[in-house]
């Protein structure tokens, strides 16, 4: 098992280093490092975006959640269905605007749209703050997988395999930038598809079929001290729906997702991807089912996060298990690399405001520091703590939605209003998550409005922004005409669809 695992890792590392030679471009250094010169065609973009979604964390955390609570965990499937219509509609526009103005990050876009440093900074900081725990979770997922390989790899005391993985990540990130994870994304996804399809076919055969798996899961969930549910109960309808919608809306506002979109060759590439990426969603559905399979298989891991590695080791022969565990580890490396690149780009351009000559260098070092920070988080061993930060990150990222979506479409809200909304939304969401958790129990007038805090915060965000906007107009008039209303960049640029692709 170990031998197979290590050879897979070695192969992937090699691919990562060789990728320096691919997609060479003449564009400015940061665009080359951070967006691979915007050269990725449909196929690579598909792997890259898919790679963002289907990460070590996804493979570990979604089944763990399903194992723990049942139906609620499937919000992940619903959200990954809803993401793509949204991407299809909105992202090509973003791509076009970004390309014509040379934007590399979402904060660049906001800065160009609204010409307000504070708003752009808010967007940048939200993105960075949301990304760091996410990277930490990838590393944590990788560690969980490595621990299943046996005593050599890993007790909490010896974090060295993780450090080794980190070093690998840092090395090729430095040299090749986005090209490295893009090339490995292909390998990674092939491995993960293999793992999941094998599991979805082979494990039910051993456990007596899907009908039996669901029945066993229902039985077991109901018998828990805090009961889980096979079918979502009415009390959880709103939380489920808001978790799904909130996550879907937030997904592409994460810096690494935006990076994957902006690195595409054309707007049309993105649209075509939006049609075909749901293949990954089917996969996610199967991944979620692993949680039920684990229940049906009678697994009782000490920690729910160990569910998938345990299932792999129990159900598959040692060679294939080694392959699968390697898939999870690589599944952490790729998104971690992309996330670090994206967050570093944000930092270099929109927080540090590096000069064009310095940008790429600053970003590379920032990427290193961000990864070190994430590594420190994980090695501190407090995984629940990290998850809480990541959920908080989702809340933060969603608050950037108004600025970006309105910037792309209609300029109903100006920067000050958006900033006010963002501040209140972020503050409120953070408060809710810290006090009661990211699914916040809210009871108003006898109504149970338990929902995803991010959505509650977004609603308040928009409301505050709208109210502020109403006051802004008269104020601007009082000041003698105020500023010229800025034209939406998108209205200045016709949406050009490149027919040659």
């Amino acid at each position: 098992m170990l031998a197979v695992f290590l050879s897979c890792i070695a192969l992937v590392a090699a691919v990562g280093f060789i990728s320096r030679r691919w997609w060479r471009s003449d564009v400015g250094a940061l665009e080359a490092w951070g967006l691979a010169g915007r050269q990725f065609g449909a196929v690579i973009t598909w792997f890259l975006i898919g790679g963002d979604f289907y990460t070590a964390y996804t493979l570990i955390a979604v089944p763990a959640l399903v194992f723990g609570v049942g139906a609620s965990g499937f919000f992940a499937l619903v959200y990954t269905i809803l993401v793509y219509p949204f991407v299809f509609l909105v992202m090509p526009r973003l791509w076009t605007v970004a390309q014509s103005h040379g934007y590399i990050t979402l904060a660049d876009f906001v800065s160009g749209c609204y010409d307000n440093r504070w708003l752009a900074l808010a967007i940048a900081l939200s993105g960075i703050a949301a990304t760091v725990p996410y990277i930490a979770l990838q590393l944590a997922g990788m560690q969980v997988a490595m621990e299943a390989l046996g005593p050599i790899f890993g007790t909490h005391a010896s974090g060295w395999p993780l450090v080794a993985a980190f070093a690998l990540l840092a090395a090729y990130d430095f040299s090749s930038g986005l090209r490295a994870p893009a090339s490995i994304a292909v390998v990674k996804d092939v491995m993960i598809y293999t793992l999941v399809i094998a599991a979805a076919v082979w494990i039910p055969m051993r456990l007596g079929g899907y009908g039996h798996i669901f029945a066993a899961a229902a039985h077991s969930l109901a018998a828990r001290p805090v009961p889980g549910y096979l079918i979502l109960p009415p009390t959880q309808y709103l939380s489920f729906a808001t978790l799904a919608l909130g996550s879907a809306l937030a997904a592409f506002l994460y810096p690494h997702m935006a990076t994957s979109v902006l690195s595409a060759r054309s707007a049309r590439t993105i649209q075509r991807n939006a049609i075909v990426l749901p293949a990954y969603t089917l996969l996610l559905g199967l991944v979620a089912l692993l949680g039920y399979m684990a229940i049906a298989a009678g697994l009782h891991p000490a920690n729910a996060n160990d569910v998938v590695p345990l299932l792999i080791v129990r159900m598959f022969g040692p060679h294939f298990a080694g392959f699968c565990l390697a898939a999870i580890v690589i599944g952490g490396l790729v998104p971690a690399a992309i996330m670090a690149i994206a967050a570093a780009s944000l930092f270099a351009r929109n927080v540090y405001h590096a000069s064009p000559r310095q940008e790429a260098r600053v970003a590379k070092w920032a990427s290193m520091l961000i990864k070190l920070g994430a590594l420190a988080f994980v090695l501190s061993g407090r995984i629940t703590y990290i998850i809480n930060f990541q959920l908080l990150g989702g809340i933060w990222v969603l608050q950037t939605l108004p600025a970006i979506v309105f910037g792309l479409y209609r300029r109903w809200l100006d920067a000050p209003a958006l900033l006010a909304g963002w501040t209140i939304g972020t503050g409120m969401g953070t408060f809710m998550a810290i006090t009661r958790g990211s699914v916040y129990p809210l009871h108003i007038g006898g109504l149970n409005l338990t929902a995803y805090a991010a959505m509650d915060a977004l609603v308040v965000n928009l409301a505050v922004a709208a109210v502020c906007q109403m006051f802004l107009r008269p104020l601007a008039r009082i000041q003698g005409g105020g500023e010229q209303p800025r034209q939406t960049p998108s209205s200045q640029v016709k949406l050009v669809v490149d027919d040659s692709h």
Partner: protein
């Protein structure tokens, strides 16, 4: 060259998955089941495919308006 697709009526079709998947009372039940999957689950899987198909259709329809 395509005029802004956002203005195309066909884009409204993209709202269907949201309607179909966020209104929980619509599908939070066990029956009818399919291949051993409770309704709650196979309904979601079905929407993966339907949603992709809708996106594909909208893509085709909005391309033709060139």
């Amino acid at each position: 060259m395509v005029r802004s697709r956002a203005r195309s009526r066909w884009n409204a079709l993209l709202l269907l998955p949201f309607a179909g998947l966020l209104w929980m009372p619509l599908y939070a039940r066990e029956k009818p089941d399919l291949f051993g999957f409770p309704f709650f689950y196979w309904y979601q899987f079905a929407w993966v495919i339907v949603s992709a198909a809708i996106t594909g259709v909208v893509y085709r329809l909005t391309s033709r308006s060139e």
